[in-house]
């Protein structure tokens, strides 16, 4: 029974994928159809159009095998020996430096926003307590 339920739920997810692909093909927007399907599924869950019970088994099953599904495409690296040339090396170097920059800049920006929000909250707290003390007088 569990197997049938999981397969049916995978069917529902595939349906969202096909709708996403269809929307991309008729509107010509440049986004992967799978992402359109993801957004539609999230919205359906969030607005309670679809109960999460109807997809959670199927979704968990597919996510457990997510890596398996892209291995065949990754193996295609066999057809690209230019990765082992100088320009391939520079490509990898650019990605390393860019990732370091993204990590540091993002971490710092997020830290500053967090600090600002904290100060704002503390500020509110101070005005609230001083208002209270005025009230007490």
């Amino acid at each position: 029974m569990d197997i049938i339920r999981t397969i049916a739920q995978i069917g529902i997810i595939i349906l969202f994928y096909l709708v996403g692909e269809y929307i991309v093909s008729i509107t010509g927007i440049i986004i992967p159809g799978s992402i359109v399907g993801l957004v539609l599924l999230w919205l359906s869950l969030y607005f309670k159009i679809l109960n999460v019970k109807f997809i959670q088994k199927g979704a968990s099953f597919m996510l457990a095998f997510l890596t398996l599904f892209f291995i065949p495409s990754t193996v295609a690296v066999i057809n690209y020996p230019e990765l082992l040339t100088v320009s391939g090396g520079l490509l990898i170097l650019a990605v390393i430096i860019s990732t370091i920059l993204a990590l540091v800049i993002t971490g710092k920006v997020s830290r500053i926003i967090e600090e600002k929000e904290k100060q704002k909250k503390e500020g509110e707290h101070v005005t609230a307590s001083s208002a209270k003390s005025i009230y007490h007088k």
Partner: protein
């Protein structure tokens, strides 16, 4: 006809078996260098090279697994739905930081590749590097990159975060669960997350949320940038 069907079935079942076994090994030890995407890919490539099997023959079976990639990406809506409370709790810091991460990553990688005189195909290939692998491949395919090379770069971005992340966090005083989680999740996706586990549960959940959101944001922004600016 029959031998072809048998060949396909053999390729599919041996790939599945290899994946299940090596995934078990990874879950037991938890070292990012044992991630099945690395181990299974390397072993498969080695087998194809040793026995002189063309990639096209392997894809007779492999294509059936690839067909499930799109629906599996849709299934990512499930964890993102489960994390909806965190999204609303930290909405400003998470959303602003994800966009900052995306722009910092995109601008810097394009700048370096232009400086190095790389080809346009390589630039397109590098743009989705910070996204989670399945989404990165689909975006790469869409904008005219080379998806298997994009996967290599996605792994490079992931390992850069997993190996250098903790040092960078220390030096630059990035010392809260939100800042570490957002930085790692949006720059180094799932591979980086393996390192976040060592900080706290909160680091990990903010990291995986940032990874999911930045995949969605990237799938919208990267095609736009590649069509209008490069």
């Amino acid at each position: 006809m029959l031998p072809q069907v048998l060949l396909s079935l053999f390729i599919i079942s041996s790939t599945v078996l290899l994946f299940v076994l090596l995934n078990k090994l990874y879950l037991k030890i938890g070292n990012p260098f044992l991630l099945p995407i690395l181990t299974v890919t390397c072993i498969t490539v080695a087998v194809l090279l040793i026995f002189n099997i063309p990639y096209e023959t392997y894809m007779e079976g492999g294509q059936w697994l690839s067909k499930m990639l799109g629906p599996a990406v849709v299934a990512l809506a499930f964890p993102l739905y489960n994390q909806r409370d965190i999204i609303f709790k930290y909405k400003y810091s998470i959303i602003i930081s994800i966009i900052v991460a995306m722009l910092a990553g995109l601008i810097s990688v394009v700048a370096f590749l232009l400086l190095f005189g790389s080809s346009k195909a390589f630039i397109y290939t590098s743009l989705p590097k910070s996204l989670t692998t399945p989404v990165a491949m689909q975006v790469s395919d869409l904008i005219g990159g080379i998806p298997p090379l994009t996967v290599v770069l996605v792994m490079v971005a992931g390992f850069t975060g997993a190996i250098l992340g903790p040092v960078l966090f220390k030096v630059f005083k990035i010392d809260t669960a939100i800042s570490r989680g957002v930085a790692m999740g949006s720059a180094s996706h799932g591979v980086g997350l393996t390192k976040l586990k060592e900080y706290s549960e909160e680091d990990l959940s903010i990291g995986s949320l940032s990874m999911g959101l930045s995949a969605v944001v990237g799938a919208f922004i990267i095609p736009l940038i590649s069509f209008y600016f490069i």
